[in-house]
């Protein structure tokens, strides 16, 4: 579904990704773990075309998107939940969701809105509340719901557990598992390695801009190197 071939990314003169190859197959949950500054978010942003990859190729569903504009990429069946939620705090929950379905027809929006409310009943309760007045967990739910509004085939989540209470994190991960059952491919980027690998079919470990390890989620969990570095021994 999503293939990165030897992707390099530069910020000015500094190279942040030194030739990364990642593949996410249809229907999978793939986790990417790594420490602060390893380049996780850079990798995601490169997929979205902001910044552009300076070398290498990126394919989405067999079509090359390396040089497409961000707006074009984001309209081709892929959704991203950006790091730090980034809901529109002045708009209500409903308006936020409608923004997610910006390029869809009204009927489609109604349908996907219904679907999002089924996934997150809490959002239905808060339908007319301003997004900025909700708790962090609710905002994360809204961010995921908003990304689902365009009915994507694939969703990319950047640190969905950031700054949330353990109970909420558990809920969010349950929802992510549910998305796979609906046939949505999930690419998950996390610092919370234990939960991310537990859920994932496969996992990648990114270290200073390079892929160090690549294996099934279970194997990575049992790998002593990973345990030492990311799972607290």
């Amino acid at each position: 579904m999503l293939v990165l071939e030897d992707v390099h990314t530069h910020y000015g003169k500094i190279e942040a990704l030194h030739g990364v190859s990642v593949e996410v197959k249809k229907g999978e949950i793939v986790s990417l773990i790594g420490a602060n500054g390893a380049g996780k978010t850079t990798l995601l942003m490169t997929v979205c075309g902001n910044p552009r990859a300076s070398a290498g190729r990126i394919f989405l569903e067999g079509k090359e998107i390396t040089n497409e504009s961000t707006a074009q990429i984001m309209r081709s069946g892929i959704s991203i939940v950006p790091e730090g939620r980034r809901v529109f705090s002045g708009l209500t929950v409903e308006e936020n969701l409608h923004m997610g379905g910006f390029f869809n027809t009204k009927a489609e929006i109604r349908k996907s809105q219904q679907h999002v409310y089924e996934l997150f009943p809490r959002l239905k309760e808060r339908e007319h509340q301003r997004a900025g007045t909700m708790s962090g967990g609710e905002q994360q739910m809204l961010a995921i719901g908003r990304a689902l509004m365009s009915r994507p085939n694939m969703i990319i989540l950047d640190e969905p557990s950031l700054g949330l209470a353990p109970l909420i994190i558990k809920q969010i991960f349950e929802i992510i598992g549910q998305l796979r059952e609906e046939g949505i491919t999930v690419f998950l980027v996390e610092q919370n390695a234990h939960q991310a690998l537990n859920l994932a079919d496969r996992g990648y470990v990114l270290e200073t801009g390079k892929i160090r390890l690549h294996d099934t989620g279970k194997n990575l969990l049992e790998n002593p190197d990973v345990q030492n570095a990311y799972l607290g021994g």
């Binding site: 950006p82 529109f88 997610g100 910006f102 390029f103 365009s150």
Partner: protein
């Protein structure tokens, strides 16, 4: 505590003296070529001293005074009132607005010519502020050179009428479209900038236009401006005493009424009113369309908006272009009202005033912006009696506004319901 209060009160009263004595107490008088400084008479000095004493006493007993004020029952117990239902509020609002527009239609026939003239100016400012409201209030792009588009509209009409003899009604759409085109052209290179940088570049653009108009003497007449701009006609009827253009008739002869200079003023006012209402309705429509939501989304969070597939450039450009379009509209009306324009009318202060209207009214709120446009244009006129102090009063009013209502006169209201407390 008491000593502290006393020191503070003494300090405040001395500041009062220092500020008010030079302003009120001294007069500069021109006698021939010399300027002499004369002190004020005894009564003024007494007034200044009295003011200082009042400030001193108030500061000294501030705690007690504020205490008694606070213990009084609140005059408007709004906090305990249930918020009005959203659809009912919207209905009342639209009725009241329709009523105001109808009143405004008949109003000029009962008041003086000066009042109608001033009202026309107010309406021009309303158009400008509504247009800038799209750029600053909705899309969140700080534009300090908005007056440039106003100038483009005004000069388009002036030049077209001078060189090609084009009438007001034809120039109106051309002026607006040309201003929109300028907005589009300026927007392309500029909109990758954000915040302060954008503000400075737009400021520069505003100045470029003004300086260009000032120096391109062969075309624009430079600082001399362009005069003799024709008045708008009503189906080929002119409002002057004598018909200027071949083939036109005059209004007063057609209807067989006595000539009056007021007809023209009222007609201009009505045109401005119709255009202002048109502006408000079109922008209101835009706000409810997807493009309006896209403006707000981009203002709220650029990264999130882009993650949803919105094109940053397209959204910002649309806001810029639409804002410029209505400035061009206002410019054409302005040129027609004045009959004469020069670069002097399009200085940075104009941009600042329009921006002040938008901020005072409450960013994004149409009613607020209209109220603020009325207040900002009329206040200096009302305060004409104290002409020396009117800018002082204007400034003080702005400062007080920002202290008491930083969100503006009538902040933008989004549709939302207050949640009932669950107890």
């Amino acid at each position: 505590m008491a000593a502290n209060n006393f020191r503070h009160a003494l300090f405040c009263s001395i500041i009062t003296l220092i500020i008010s004595y030079p302003i009120i107490g001294f007069n500069l008088e021109a006698q021939g070529i010399n300027v002499t400084l004369t002190g004020a008479d005894a009564s003024t000095v007494v007034m200044v001293l009295l003011a200082a004493v009042i400030v001193f006493l108030f500061q000294l007993f501030r705690d007690q005074i504020m205490g008694t004020l606070r213990s009084l029952p609140h005059p408007l117990p709004q906090s305990s009132k249930e918020p009005m239902a959203e659809n009912r509020r919207a209905k009342i609002e639209s009725w009241v607005l329709t009523g105001i527009v109808v009143l405004a239609l008949f109003w000029p026939f009962f008041v003086s010519r000066g009042a109608v003239d001033l009202a026309t100016l107010v309406l021009i400012y309303i158009m400008l502020a509504l247009g800038l409201n799209v750029v600053v209030g909705l899309a969140g792009l700080l534009d300090l050179g908005y007056v440039a588009f106003y100038a483009v509209g005004a000069y388009t009409f002036a030049l077209l009428s001078q060189y090609l003899g084009i009438s007001f009604w034809l120039a109106l759409p051309i002026g607006a479209l040309l201003a929109a085109l300028f907005g589009l052209v300026l927007g392309f290179p500029v909109l990758r900038l954000r915040g302060d940088y954008l503000a400075i570049v737009t400021l520069g653009f505003g100045e470029i236009i003004r300086i260009l108009l000032n120096n391109w003497t062969t075309l624009t007449g430079g600082p001399n401006g362009i005069g003799g701009i024709p008045d708008p006609t009503l189906f080929g009827m002119e409002f002057g005493r004598r018909v200027k253009e071949e083939g036109n008739t005059s209004f007063h002869e057609t209807f067989g009424i006595a000539y009056s200079g007021e007809h023209k003023v009222i007609f201009l006012y009505l045109i401005a009113l119709v255009l202002a209402v048109f502006t408000a309705l079109v922008i209101r429509r835009f706000m409810r369309m997807p493009v309006g939501r896209a403006w707000e989304a981009l203002r709220e969070d650029e990264i999130a908006a882009r993650s949803l597939g919105l094109s940053r450039t397209a959204v910002k450009l649309s806001a810029f272009t639409i804002g410029a379009f209505f400035a061009g509209f206002a410019g054409t009306v302005f040129a027609s009202k004045q009959g004469f324009i020069s670069p002097e009318s399009f200085v940075f202060l104009e941009s600042a005033i329009i921006l002040a209207i938008v901020v005072l009214g409450g960013m994004g709120s149409q009613i607020g912006v209209v109220l603020a446009a009325i207040a900002v244009t009329i206040l200096p006129e009302l305060a004409r009696e104290f002409s020396e102090y009117r800018m002082l009063i204007f400034g003080a009013a702005m400062v007080l506004m920002m202290v008491w209502r930083p969100q503006g006169l009538m902040p933008m209201r989004r549709i939302h319901i207050e949640l009932k407390r669950q107890e």
